[in-house]
């Protein structure tokens, strides 16, 4: 319940538009700092260079992992999924793993049962029983500690700006090992956690993306979903470039379900159902109003 005092303070400070008294910060100072920190930005044509660099980085990680195993470390097992299909595995400790395309996992199991897994790409894991030894999943700077029987999806492709961890069941503890040592966020069923690659910023919130497992189930569900989000999801799922040219279409709500549909079928269906018009030019799809 809001009390009088809440409203008084909120109203009083709402129109303050100058820098607080007693501080020496100014927008100019702030922008100079910003420029220094984020000076060079990557131009579009060098995205190719970035992609090959990250593919190389993935290989480097795997090699480094294999080299770092010494006599006292348990054997590291590596699995990769091809570029055009998913992969399913059953691990020796009973965990079930589904890997999305172009993904890699490297895991080890100690005699004590202690389990460590490092991943790149996208992986859905089902841990069927509460672990009785430390169970850790790592990707980038994110460290995920599994505390109970859990089902979770981790998306961490090299080109993703954030690492997305969605908990379908159970609970995990997420921290980042660069800035947030010792600080962990508990993420439970129905929630998701995002770890930023750029600044190690970790936050968790309720998961509203019904399609986070579409890559595994082939099912796409849109329920009054704004077209801007629909295209984001289609872009991610089919890997095709889709642009909305008419801003008024961006928040038009679309409702529909697709089961293992082809990209063309989805486009055709959406056009049938709504006021949207799509045109395809080679590999690029443009969306506008009819």
């Amino acid at each position: 319940m809001k009390s009088n005092i809440d409203n008084i303070f909120r109203d009083k400070i709402s129109n303050l538009s100058s820098v607080p008294e007693g501080t020496s910060w100014t927008p100019e100072k702030g922008w100079n700092e910003y420029k220094k920190a984020h000076g060079k930005r990557i131009k579009p044509f060098s995205k190719v260079a970035l992609f090959t660099a990250s593919a190389a980085a993935t290989v480097a990680i795997i090699i480094a992992l294999s080299i770092s195993t010494n006599v006292f470390s348990p054997k590291v097992i590596i699995a990769t999924s091809p570029a055009d299909s998913t992969k399913e595995l059953l691990l020796p400790n009973g965990s079930k793993v589904w890997m999305n395309k172009n993904s890699t996992i490297a895991y080890s199991i100690r005699k004590s049962g202690e389990f460590n897994l490092k991943l790149e790409g996208e992986v859905y894991i089902e841990i069927t029983e509460e672990p009785n030894a430390p169970y850790t999943i790592k990707t980038g700077s994110a460290v995920i500690a599994v505390k109970s029987a859990t089902k979770l999806n981790v998306r961490a492709y090299p080109n993703d700006t954030d690492i997305d961890i969605t908990v379908r069941d159970g609970s995990v503890s997420v921290s980042d090992n660069i800035l947030g040592k010792g600080l962990a966020l508990l993420v439970t069923k129905g929630n998701y956690c995002s770890v930023s690659r750029a600044n190690s910023f970790v936050f968790a919130t309720v998961n509203t993306n019904e399609n986070y497992l579409a890559w595994k189930t082939g099912k796409l569900i849109f329920n009054e979903t704004p077209m801007a989000t629909v295209t984001q999801i289609l872009r991610q799922y089919y890997g095709k470039e889709i642009t909305i040219t008419d801003d008024s279409v961006a928040y038009y709500s679309y409702t529909g379900t697709f089961n293992n549909a082809s990209f063309d079928n989805v486009l055709a269906q959406i056009q049938l159902d709504s006021i949207i018009e799509m045109s395809k030019d080679g590999n690029v799809v443009t969306i506008s109003k009819k």
Binding site: K2, S3, N4, I5, D6, N7, I8, F9, R10, K12, I13, N15, L16, S17, S18, V19, P20, E21, T23, S24, W25, P27, E28, K29, G30, W31, E33, Y34, A37, H38, R41, T161, G180, L183, L185, L186, S196, A198, N199, F201, V202, F203, A204, P226, A228, T229, Q232, D247, A250, Y251
Partner: protein
């Protein structure tokens, strides 16, 4: 604004600079309200803008209020991350007590800046909860989740914050009344 957003989606540097100049003061005030120190507030603003510019791709502009609300959320989350490192939010047990809701008039002689400063002067835990509840409009269950405390503790922190602000308000009003 729609054009500005379009330019920001294309990571146009000049537009970013103008956008920063336009909104940074308000966002600095939000950050400063939480962390109460200029250096942290400055870095939160810059990390915040980095996130804002990076996430422009997936952002759908509807109106200025929604834009501001979205940006404030990013700043608040970043401020909380900083606060979490510096302070431990513990659960507190206290018998719930109601503050008397006697109406108190506001004296327009008190500058808005003074109200802002009163919030600043609250101890960190009370300040955070008051900011989140009364200014940003989060619920106790959302606050409990963000700070890793019980809902009941959030309520107690809020009560204490209100009590403290009430007390800061009264002496000032009495002074002016004299």
């Amino acid at each position: 604004m729609i054009n500005t957003i379009k330019q920001l989606k294309h990571k146009n540097r000049k537009t970013q600079q103008e956008f920063y100049k336009k909104f940074s003061v308000r966002l600095f005030r939000v950050a400063y309200r939480y962390v109460n120190n200029e250096q942290d507030a400055g870095s939160i603003v810059n990390i915040g803008f980095y996130n804002i510019f990076q996430n422009m791709d997936g952002f759908t502009y509807t109106n200025d209020e929604m834009l501001m609300a979205w940006m404030k959320k990013i700043i608040v989350n970043e401020a909380l991350a900083v606060l979490r490192k510096k302070h431990k939010y513990i659960n507190i047990d206290e018998v719930d007590y109601e503050i008397s809701q006697n109406g108190y008039h506001t004296d327009n002689n008190l500058a808005a800046e003074e109200y802002y400063r009163m919030i600043q002067n609250l101890p960190s835990n009370l300040r955070t909860v008051f900011n989140l509840y009364a200014i940003e409009g989060y619920s106790h269950s959302e606050i409990a989740y963000k700070l890793g405390i019980e809902e009941s503790s959030s309520r107690v922190y809020l009560m204490r914050a209100r009590k403290s602000l009430q007390e800061s308000l009264s002496p000032k009003l009495n002074y002016y009344e004299k």
